[in-house]
């Protein structure tokens, strides 16, 4: 089961650009590898990542098998006001991993 790690600031000034780092534990099986018997190991990757803040879309990404094992993604956005950064990763099999980080504007 994939597990997400997120590094986000707890507080920010209104209008401040903050950087978010994310790292998910996932094999990202490309579908091109073969097992010991020469059979192709089926593809199983995280194919999408979305992040919204205060309900507004910040980023929505499509990942291909060329993204490395344990996908790392760093992005930045401007914090308008206190809100929740909601992140979601979607696996090929439809399952999702979510994480929410609250950023407070004093």
């Amino acid at each position: 089961m994939a597990k997400a790690r997120v590094k986000a600031p707890k507080t920010a000034a209104a209008g401040e650009l903050v950087t978010i780092k994310t790292l998910v534990n996932h094999k990202m099986e490309s579908g091109r590898r073969k097992d010991g018997d020469g059979n192709l190991i089926p593809r199983k990757i995280i194919n999408a990542f979305t992040a919204t803040f205060g309900g507004e879309e910040v980023i929505s990404a499509k990942f291909e098998p060329a993204i490395s094992t344990n996908p790392y993604f760093q992005f930045s956005f401007t914090v308008p006001a206190t809100g929740d950064l909601v992140m979601q990763w979607t696996d090929d099999d439809g399952s999702t991993v979510e994480q929410t980080k609250t950023i407070t504007v004093a």
């Binding site: 919204t52 910040v58 990942f63 956005f77 401007t78």
Partner: protein, 140 residues
Amino acid sequence: MSLTRRNALALGSASFVVTLLPLNAFAASDETMAAIKSFTGGSAVSEGGISLTTPEIAENGNTVPIQFSASGAKRVMILADGNPTPGVGTFNFGELSDASGSTRIRLAGTQNVIALAEMADGSFAQVAKTVKVTIGGCGG
């Protein structure tokens, strides 16, 4: 000047830049050109407005850190021209985003990594970097 490996690398990168212009004519695989066309809808692509940072030499093709930035862009697509399939990722940016990102990618061998951006005004920009990917000598 004797042709040391270091000089050869520098020469290699320099000569690539020359073949890059005009942009639409650089030597890329059919699949890469198709992916670019699909992204741009056939529109012209210019230089400038998008930056791409890659290592000169990738320590290991399994995990190559890259960083891109296209201030004001609506979306960015990353392609790896020498991979079995060129697609690496596509990133759509909302208003709050600064249209930049960092990630780690797999590169099958020495090749060009291409970053394309659709800017706010609907125009397209492109940048490409050559990454040397080596097979280790004695990786254990």
